[in-house]
Symmetry: C2
Subunit: 342 residues, 2 copies
Amino acid sequence: MSNEKLTPISDLGEFGLIERLSARFTNHHASTLKGIGDDAAVLDVTGKQTVVTTDLLAEGVHFDLSYVPLKHLGYKAVVVNLSDIYAMNAKPKQILVSMALPGKFTVEAADELYEGIAHACAVYGVDIVGGDTTTSKSGLVISVTAIGEALPEELIYRNTAQVGDLICVSGDLGAAYLGLQILEREKMVWETDPSAEPEIESDYLVKRQLKPEARKDIIDFLGEIMLRPTSMMDLSDGLSSDILHICKQSNVGCLIDEARVPISEDAYNLAIKFNMDPITCALSGGEDYELLFTINPDDESKLIGEESITIIGEITAADQGKTLKTKGGNFHAIKAQGWKHF
Amino acid sequence: MSNEKLTPISDLGEFGLIERLSARFTNHHASTLKGIGDDAAVLDVTGKQTVVTTDLLAEGVHFDLSYVPLKHLGYKAVVVNLSDIYAMNAKPKQILVSMALPGKFTVEAADELYEGIAHACAVYGVDIVGGDTTTSKSGLVISVTAIGEALPEELIYRNTAQVGDLICVSGDLGAAYLGLQILEREKMVWETDPSAEPEIESDYLVKRQLKPEARKDIIDFLGEIMLRPTSMMDLSDGLSSDILHICKQSNVGCLIDEARVPISEDAYNLAIKFNMDPITCALSGGEDYELLFTINPDDESKLIGEESITIIGEITAADQGKTLKTKGGNFHAIKAQGWKHF
C-alpha cells in the first residue's frame, strides 16, 4: 500500500464508511431476511434452532499489527467464531462485526480488514448482517458474533461424553503456537536490525497462526460417514485446558496418551530448534481451532485410514481423574493452561 | 468501594472470572435452550423471526470512567442494544456480552460492571447467553449483541414511511446531551479544584446520560391502543441525523416543525445557562434512545391526550427535501450531524 494515496476516515464520516464497507457484502441465505441498514437484522430460522457465539480480539492482546496483515486479521476474526458454530455441529449462516478503529486508521486500512472479513464470508458462505463501527482512543478491537442453525437432533454439546468413549482431535496441534514464535522472533530481529533478511522456517506454521481455518471439512466428513460424536468442542485455549471442559461438563475423567497427540513435522522440528518441548506446545499452545470430540468405541472402525482425525485417549470415570500418560509411561494430572491474557 | 479489599483478576484467571460473573445470571425464556457454557448458545424461535443487533462502547470515545459509574455503564451497554430491538417492534430475549478489561481492572470492578448488566437483564427480562471476556492493553471496551423475536407481521422497518404520514417522537430530546455537558463541566471543575462541591443542576439530565432506558413502555402502549407505526427507529445519533435514514430508505422527504420538538424544562433551562441553543441540543444531541416513528394520519386521534408521544412533523414527497421549519417561520434543509467520533 506504500505508493497509494491514503484517506483519513474522517473524510468519509460514519455513514460514508459504513456504506463503503457494506457495499462489498451480498446476502446468500434464505434465512437472512434483512441485513445491514435498519436498527437490527432479521433472520428466519423456522424449524431449526439458532446457535450464537461471540469473540472479541484486541490489539496487543490477541494480535500484533507489526506482523499481522489486516486482511488475515479480518479473516481470522471471522473464522474463530465460525469454529465455535461448527463445534456445535451447526452450520454458520450470519455474522455481525463490530470494530473500534484507532484514530490513525485510514480508509484503506479499514478496506483491507474488511477484505479479509469478506473473504472468510465467501469461503464459508456466511452473510454479514450487521455491526457497529466506531473509533478507538487506543488499539484496534474487533468483536464478531456468529449465528448458525441446526436441527435440534444435530446439535452436539460438551456435556454428553460417556465413560469408555474415545477422544479424538482433528489435524495436528501446536502449529499455531509455534507459528507465533517465528513471528515474535522475526519482530525482535527486525527491531534490532531492520536490514536483516527474514527467516521463516515454515510457511505452514506461520499460516496456522495468521490465517487459521474452521474445520468445516471435518464436520462435513463426519456427516458423510454418519459418525456422530458424543461430545464436541473446538480447541482454542489448548488441549490441556479444553479437555477439562468436556470432563467437567460431562462429569467424567480422561486418559490422554501423549504418544498419540498429533504434531506436524514442522512443529516438532521448530520446537526442538527453539528448545521447547513439542508435546507442551501441542497440549498448551492454543489457537489451533481443531475439533476435539468423543466417539462411541463402536464407531472406531469408521475412522480407519482417516489421517485427518486421531484418537488420542479415552473417557474414564470421574474418580479416575484427568490424566496424561507420558511417552516414558508416567501418569500426570492434566492442568488448565489457558488464558495467558490477564 | 474504597475500604474494600480489591482482587486482581489474575487471582481468579479466565475460567474463575467467567464462572463468578455468569453465576448471577439465570435464564428466563423458553427460547433459551442453552446459555453460557458451550461453544455457542442455542435458541429456539420456532414460528418467529429473529432480530439481532450489536453495539460497541469504547472508553474515551463513548464513556469517560472518571465520571461514569461502572454499574451504570453496564446497564447502558445493554439498554442501547435493547432499544434497537424495540425499534424493530420486536421483543428482546437474549444478549451476548464481550468485554476487554484493562489490566488495572479488579474483580470488584468487573463485578460492578456485571451488576449493571444483570440489572438491565432483570428490568427488561432478557437472558445473557454468552460472551467473551479478555484483557485490554488500553481502555475498557464492551460489545453487546442483542437478539429478539417477532412475528413477521409485527416487524416495523425504516423503509416503509408514506407521504402524508405524521412523524412522532417519544419522550423529550436533548436531555442526554445536556446531562453530558453537566458531567464534563464537573470533571473540569474537579480537575482544577478537587475540594469544590459538585453542582448538579438536574438529576434528570444526568440520569438520561448515565442510565438511559429503552422505550419498552411506548412499544407496549402502541400495542395496547393498536396503533401500528408505518416506520420506526430509535434515536441514537440525534433527530436531524436519524430522520434522514427513514427519508432515504423510504424514498420520501420530511417537514419537521421546530416549535413542536419536545424539550424538557430542565434541558431548556440548562441549554440557556450554557449559552447553547435548546433546539440544536434536541436535534443533534444524540443518545436519547427515544423512538422516532411515523403513523398514518388516520391514527392521529389515538394519540390525543398522550403526553409521552409528540407529533413533530410530516412525511413529504422526496422532491420536497428534508426540511426544518424554524420558530421564526424560516425553512432550512436538515443535515446529518451524527458521529463525532472520527
